[in-house]
């Protein structure tokens, strides 16, 4: 899932300093699962902003709402009547949600409450780790299911840089050397020979270097 974390409250308040009434929109998708943008976080943020502004003798009116997701236009549409008399909309979704809202309501000022961080999963409750870098051309079948692009600090593709100590990356002893993990796993699977094959240079155009990408499925397109 997409992992995001809330911005410092001062920055969020800064963004809506001139607004009298704002709509805060949570998202019940990934940001709820990574505990950043669900109904609980939305209402806490709303309460915090209201208190902050009251202390500055500049009271703020808030409306809170949680969309099922903010990455499909229909779900954005459910808040049409809510946005009418608000000065700004704060989205607690990942970057996608903010842009969908901005796309739909041209005349409204939309701001992100979260910083969208990475694609990954929970290591232990409360700790999330990056696992995938969205390179658009997966090589995991060659490295025993361990991604060198993200989990090797230098994203090198043809074996370890040689700087690791006791299986830990030279940049930090808390970071495992991806290639150590890859080597151990391939050895366990008895496929060390596959590692010897030389990788062709990576086609980075498939990642974001080729500009914003689309995924199209003709077969399911309607009308």
């Amino acid at each position: 899932m997409i992992i995001a974390q809330q911005k410092p409250i001062k920055d969020i308040a800064e963004m809506i300093a001139d607004c009298k009434k704002v709509l805060l929109v949570g998202c019940a998708g990934c940001v709820t699962v990574c505990l950043a943008g669900g109904e609980k976080e939305t209402e806490i943020l709303a309460a915090a902003l209201r208190i902050m502004r009251r202390l500055q003798d500049n009271p703020l009116e808030t409306v809170t709402y949680v969309a099922t997701r903010q990455c499909d236009p229909e779900y954005i549409a459910t808040m049409d009547n809510l946005v009418k008399d608000v000065d700004a909309i704060i989205s607690l979704a990942c970057g996608v949600g903010v842009q969908y809202i901005a796309e739909r309501y041209h005349d409204k000022w939309v701001v992100p409450a979260l910083d969208t961080k990475f694609i990954g999963g929970s290591k232990v409750h409360g700790v999330w780790e990056e696992k995938c870098g969205l390179c658009g051309d997966c090589v995991l079948h060659r490295t025993g299911g361990i991604c060198p692009i993200i989990r090797c600090s230098k994203s090198i593709l043809n074996g370890p840089c040689g700087g690791s100590q006791y299986g830990k990356c030279e940049i930090s002893k808390d970071v495992d050397c991806a290639w150590q993990l890859i080597y151990d796993r391939m050895k366990a699977l008895g496929r060390l020979d596959k590692l010897m094959e030389i990788q062709p240079p990576k086609d980075w155009s498939k990642s974001r270097d080729g500009g914003p990408r689309k995924a199209i499925r003709e077969d399911v397109m309607i009308g």
């Binding site: 208190i51 902050m52 009251r54 202390l55 809170t64």
Partner: protein, 121 residues
């Protein structure tokens, strides 16, 4: 055993029930100080309710500092049901702290309205 009469009590089955928003709501409604009283660490009948409560109270304290109201107005205490004198001590201690901090600045200004859309949980 006597303690100051300005304490109002909300009963919960376990301190683990407490929610960040209930704490913030109490301050918005006009409370000068709030404290959460949970069981002794390790004594919780529900194993870890009071540990979670302490984590949430600490999170809200940090938030109150950030937004300027001051985290000191919120506190968590651990005591067992048999420690009546300790509860009185806490009540007096908390009242002293709030008197030192003065009434809640939120009292003076008019409160912003708050609406909540969507089904009411």
């Amino acid at each position: 055993m006597q303690y100051v009469p300005n304490i109002r009590i909300v009963e919960m089955p376990c301190s683990g029930t407490i929610d960040h928003r209930v704490l913030l709501q109490a301050f918005e409604d006009g409370a000068d100080g709030v404290f959460v009283a949970g069981c002794m660490e390790g004594d919780c009948h529900f194993q870890k309710g009071n540990y979670r409560a302490r984590k949430r109270v600490n999170a809200v304290k940090k938030l109150l500092d950030e937004i300027g109201l001051g985290g000191e107005r919120l506190e968590m205490y651990n005591l067992s049901a048999a420690m009546g004198p300790r509860f009185a001590e806490i009540a007096n201690e908390m009242t002293e702290r709030v008197r030192r901090l003065g009434p809640s600045p939120l009292k003076k200004q008019s409160a912003g309205t708050m609406e909540k859309e969507g089904d009411v949980a």
